[in-house]
């Protein structure tokens, strides 16, 4: 009985940990990321290694249905337009399970990308294998990575006003990429913003 109790306690603690620390894993600033291979809305597979000329990437976890993601779509397109030519393209990844979030499926991603005229790959994290490696916890959630070592340089928000673009006074991602392009470390490496939780079937 005594053994049973301690085993039970152990199991309960393990369960509690599994539930309360889902986002503490994942890449930290300075970590090297693994490449991935995910399906793009044009049905082709995309890896970061395909971008031999890039200096780095703005990897953005985002989706169709989250209003915070939608509120940032135009800003994401603007980021890609501004920095793709300078060697820092946007790679967007939808981390949601469409069973948990109808509307975030692959066919719907194609429709949304067409409607908005996405200028960047919009990849589907099929089987939800990639976002946990990053430790992405919400949409939108940005990870800036620099080559050649695929180093995580920045994790966080696009700017300091996710809900209202008119109230933006600090453009975190632009500042970080500008710094990297001029050979400096970003001055701000981690920021937070309100976002939608990533949808997982429980």
């Amino acid at each position: 009985m005594k053994h049973f109790k301690s085993i039970l306690t152990l199991v309960l603690v393990a369960i509690a940990f599994a539930f309360t620390l889902p986002t503490d894993d994942g890449y930290k600033i300075g970590d090297t990321i693994e490449d991935f291979k995910l399906k793009n809305i044009d049905d082709k597979m995309v890896s970061l290694s395909d971008y031999s000329d890039a200096k780095g990437f703005m990897i953005i976890f985002t989706c169709n249905m989250c209003p915070y993601s939608v509120a940032n779509e135009d800003r994401i397109i603007a980021l890609d337009k501004k920095y793709k030519g300078l060697g820092f393209p946007v790679i967007a990844i939808n981390p949601n399970d469409p069973v948990a979030m109808p509307g975030d499926g692959f066919p719907e991603m194609k429709v949304r990308a067409q409607e908005k005229g996405f200028t960047f790959p919009y990849l589907f994290d099929e089987g939800q294998k990639v976002y946990p490696k990053f430790g992405a916890s919400r949409t939108p959630h940005v990870f800036i990575v620099s080559k050649p070592n695929m180093t995580v340089e920045y994790i966080g928000a696009i700017d300091n006003s996710s809900r209202d673009p008119r109230k933006v006074t600090e453009k975190y991602v632009e500042n970080a990429v500008d710094a990297l392009l001029s050979g400096k470390q970003p001055s701000k490496t981690e920021t937070r913003a309100i976002g939608c939780s990533i949808k997982v079937v429980r």
Partner: protein
């Protein structure tokens, strides 16, 4: 003449009844569905009251499916834990320009009884970590606090997990 005044009397009575009913209705509206818009500085005192109550603060939005799903469980808490002096505060992170078209109709339709405020503060990077160091910013998120303890959850709850976590917190 008599007939006429009787008619007038009945009519008056009717009008009076009606206006009384209207008053009660508008009272209900005032109690529940006037939602203050606060910036973080204004919200902060509501997250650190030091009295004898146990506060449950839920961060949510009308468009957030897991938030909406767990909302009824938060609505039950004050009654379920009646002897523990619980007060629930729902902090909406809806888009401020959707307050009248989305938030207020939602509260009315769902007959939400808890106190609701709308947090409208652009500087998210500052106030998210001020509310809790562990919060990445995803919703739903929930804070339990009283004068001595605080516990923060960046997760969604089932009725069972919410009750269990609150019970654990109250036993601290």
């Amino acid at each position: 003449m008599l007939k006429n005044s009787l008619l007038l009397y009945v009519l008056l009575l009717f009008v009076q009844c009606k206006s009384e009913k209207k008053e009660i209705q508008s009272d209900i509206v005032t109690n529940n569905y006037v939602v203050q818009t606060l910036n973080y500085k204004e919200l902060k005192p509501l997250l650190e009251r030091k009295d004898h109550k146990n506060y449950v603060v839920n961060f949510w939005a009308t468009w957030c499916a897991p938030c909406v799903k767990e909302l009824p469980y938060f609505e039950e808490l004050e009654a379920e834990f009646k002897d523990r002096n619980i007060e629930v505060l729902l902090v909406s992170l809806d888009f401020p320009n959707k307050k009248d078209t989305k938030l207020l109709p939602f509260l009315k339709q769902r007959n939400i009884k808890s106190k609701v405020v709308l947090l409208d503060d652009a500087n998210e990077d500052v106030w998210i970590q001020a509310i809790d160091e562990s919060w990445s910013g995803a919703i739903p998120a929930t804070l339990f606090y009283n004068s001595t303890n605080r516990k923060f959850f960046e997760q969604s709850f089932t009725r069972e997990t919410l009750y269990k976590e609150l019970q654990t917190f109250l036993n601290l």
